[in-house]
Symmetry: C2
Subunit: 638 residues, 2 copies
Amino acid sequence: MPLGERGGWERSESRYCGVETDFSDDVPSLLSFNISTGGFDYVLAPLMNPSYRPSLMEGKGSETQVLPVSGSDLVLAPSQWSSHVVGKVSSWIDLDSEDEVLRMDSETTLKQEIAWATHLSLQACLLPTPKGTSCANYARCVNQILQGLTTLQLWLRVPLVKSDDATSEGLTDSWELWNSFRLLCEHDSKLSVALDVMSTLPSETSLGRWMGESVRAAIISTDSFLTNARGYPCLSKRHQKLIAGFFDHAAQVVVSGKPVHNLPKASDSNTEGTQRHPLRSYLDYVAYLFQKMEPLPEQERIELGYRDFLQAPLQPLMDNLEAQTYETFERDSTKYIQYQRAVAKALVDRVPDEKASELITVLMVVGAGRGPLVRASLQAAEETNRKLKVYAVEKNPNAVVTLHNLVKLEGWEGIVTIISCDMRFWNASEKADILVSELLGSFGDNELSPECLDGAQRFLKPDGISIPSSYTSFIQPVTATKLYNDVKAHKDLAHFETPYVVKLHSVAKLAPSQSVFTFTHPNFSTKANNQRYKKLHFNLPSDAGSALVHGFAGYFDSVLYKDVHLGIEPTTATPNMFSWFPIFFPLRKPVEVHPGSPLEVHFWRCCGSSKVWYEWSVSSPTPTPMHNTNGRSYWVGL
Amino acid sequence: MPLGERGGWERSESRYCGVETDFSDDVPSLLSFNISTGGFDYVLAPLMNPSYRPSLMEGKGSETQVLPVSGSDLVLAPSQWSSHVVGKVSSWIDLDSEDEVLRMDSETTLKQEIAWATHLSLQACLLPTPKGTSCANYARCVNQILQGLTTLQLWLRVPLVKSDDATSEGLTDSWELWNSFRLLCEHDSKLSVALDVMSTLPSETSLGRWMGESVRAAIISTDSFLTNARGYPCLSKRHQKLIAGFFDHAAQVVVSGKPVHNLPKASDSNTEGTQRHPLRSYLDYVAYLFQKMEPLPEQERIELGYRDFLQAPLQPLMDNLEAQTYETFERDSTKYIQYQRAVAKALVDRVPDEKASELITVLMVVGAGRGPLVRASLQAAEETNRKLKVYAVEKNPNAVVTLHNLVKLEGWEGIVTIISCDMRFWNASEKADILVSELLGSFGDNELSPECLDGAQRFLKPDGISIPSSYTSFIQPVTATKLYNDVKAHKDLAHFETPYVVKLHSVAKLAPSQSVFTFTHPNFSTKANNQRYKKLHFNLPSDAGSALVHGFAGYFDSVLYKDVHLGIEPTTATPNMFSWFPIFFPLRKPVEVHPGSPLEVHFWRCCGSSKVWYEWSVSSPTPTPMHNTNGRSYWVGL
């Protein structure tokens, strides 16, 4: 029975709660007890008798032996196997043991159990935690198995521990174990992690890393629960926050262990007579946590389908936008309110109150689209009682049709002149006081706002104002397993050298963002050019532990006019604005970083005669190859 | 005029000696003086006036300006440009300067000079040493240029320095600068290194690293020369050894700087009247070093064409060898002498002198080929006066034809029985005292000797002897830029997951080899299997500096019988044997290692029902993906 309906379909994967059980050769009873009676959605159950050792079978007429599995495939319906059972691979296996017999037995058993789980069409199997710090042989064997799997997922069980004592020997950070294992298995997307949540949690920053990993399950031992005033199990605030994070990242909770809370019998009498599952109160608490989560805001619900979904950035200069695209962007009222505020401030600065009735300000909207900035500008004029003459310059003839209709409909004929022309090539008959544009992409300059405005500033007065007056791009290193795997799935170089627009969700941000390129308008300097180079150093917080950088999240912030800004850089983002998702610059090969050794990153904006592109690379701690040399994989056409 | 003819064609590339010159706008005179008079083969000359700065040209009617190059393309014949001039890119350029104007001027100049060199069809250009420890923007620009080059080679000038003081700030090891630069340029094969040889040399081990790199030139300043008793320039013993190493690795010497040796005028009178080039005595000394090198041994000359040439390993079990292959291997007399010694010792051990005339030893050659082991065995019997009965078992019907002829020709009909059959399936009519085989590959077991002998030991007596009685494989980490690039040129995964047989030459061995897998014969244990797993730790010598591991060189050593061994492991290799080149296991992505952090490597020998294969990976300092999972790219068929 799913944990709850609140939060809706969007949390479907985390709605299910499992329970870890011991081996049983009576699976139907196991299910009946834990699911029908207990209310759990599935069991995490061993598939093979834990006393089984292949080497002990030898010579005992092994040809006639039957694997000591938990029950014939026929004891459950196929749909029951797949929806109610997650296989638990024998926890005694140790593929990196010094003992060769144990190693061989482990490999044989692992392969037999996975083959059996595949035969049963299970959805997932839990792999036991590697026994030591070395896991290469285990990883080799799992990697062999992964090549043959189609639907079965493997969850590697890893304890959620990170000691802050970096001097001690042995494993202090379980993330490193996971990282080695998945690098050896080459980021296989069928390999995920199941975290054993302990009663003590590592630092907040180190926990954050897991949000960029493929965490499928959080296994919470009954020992990790506290006891509330009424004697019921509950979790610490930090645990609650962590579990809420897992719910939001499609990870399921599995309850594990023996009941350690002695509940008052009498107080719970509505299930009188029937047997109550000993772990029911833990399940109830998990369901309570699930249900008390804030429902997602409306906009967030709309955008759920875009979470971690890679989109190619727009090419608005080379291509004309479609009506649908205009439609979406025009709905972003927050953005146009900011523009209106900026234009209003500029008008008041330029035209003193006493001249408001005589001075006419020439305002040109360059890239007018279907008119939202024309409307915002006229509203700013009305609000400030300033007189405007508006030119709406638009290169897309399809949008110009709409513009003409708009002007007629609103009765703006005397004020607004429509120019059907590319702003870079228009010969204006007069010069503008104010140039208003919305040419910014997720990374600021990536839709060639600099080149367009350089062209348009020919018809801006020397003391004229550009709105926006400047914009700056930002990046930060991220762990983003899903994005990396989605890029890798294309199996070519080009996709690793392309920045994507993406609503980042399952992403761990490893350090605060830093500014990259800034452009200021107008810029009448003859030496000006739009090539840029920036070297950045990122330091991981000292308590974060090591991390894997799959690429960089990119943002922008723009100064529209004076204190009116607009942007998506997380710490200063304009609230309730949805026109831009962040951009993601992938790395061809993820780079491991450690606190204390900074990540040195280089970004270039390169300009050719017909295109603009970015190149990027990491030079420290390990140099990567240059990405997108000469714009070979990605560019924006002029 | 090339340095000398001794050593022959095989050293052709290093036969040429260049001289570094200043800028001259009279290139014909420059050539006449340095080549015709001076005796050098080419000049390393600036192509552009060093006072040129693109930013100073602006506004000076730049449309009518001509680039201040060293001379029109017409002043030399095309063949003169290409064979006598190596371009020297302006040494003032600094693409990683904080000064943006200098950075932009540098980029423009670099691109103009390379374009000019391409126009002249030069063979190579020398890029100046990066100015600081950071070189990302320089590398980005060079990488852009490399994408457009077809024949022009770029030599990055790097001083040959390595401070042993690891605690000091800044660059202490120029190899690291080179390594960053070429990693950023993704190992482009058109990018090589030119080393400035200083008067002080780093440690021997750290110098060794350069033998695995693509070093094209050693630029020796006149300051680095010592003065001999007669006042002439000479080099220290360590310098001489280094230069000899460069000669052997196709690197050319370039003499640089002002003459600093005042030669006695009178003593050199054979060029009376004509002007003598001031650097002539340095050139003469370099030629002397070239000429005094030992000529290559005959076998080495034969094998020159195989140096660093990747060959797929044989599949002698699945395929039948060709006559040509038998021919080559049969010529390796050293190998058969070792076999003869082993058989002789075994015969003497098995048959005491007093029974020599009565006891007949049954010896079976399994995989007899065209008979060399039959001959060696019979010679051993003759030498020891023991009586033999020989079975020659061979699966290749073509070789059996030769065997029959051999037996007839030699009159061995009464002693040798030929069995045309795969040893794994032959039903022998009697059992053998001695089983002789030569089934070893470069990596010992890689041609499936274990599987073949497991099959053949059915017809070995319980106290019988196998020759070889055991064999062990070895690996060591290597820097091997050329091999890596040749593997990469295939642009697929499979070639990175294939071991190659290769005569290693331009390879830096980074640590002593270690043993991997051992097989012993006969092995009658029922628990025996031929799967193997070995974890190895390699430590770089502490004075070696960091290094890049492109893969692993593999070898074998085999105990034929007691103290008679046979092998190619470098420290114990059997001299004058040429049947085996080493094997090379590539890494998909080179791994950087540092002294003090061991390289942890894993090798597996995996056995399926129809094939045997290796998997390998590195787990530390950085985990690589598993190589050749399930034998997907390379396997040996059973």
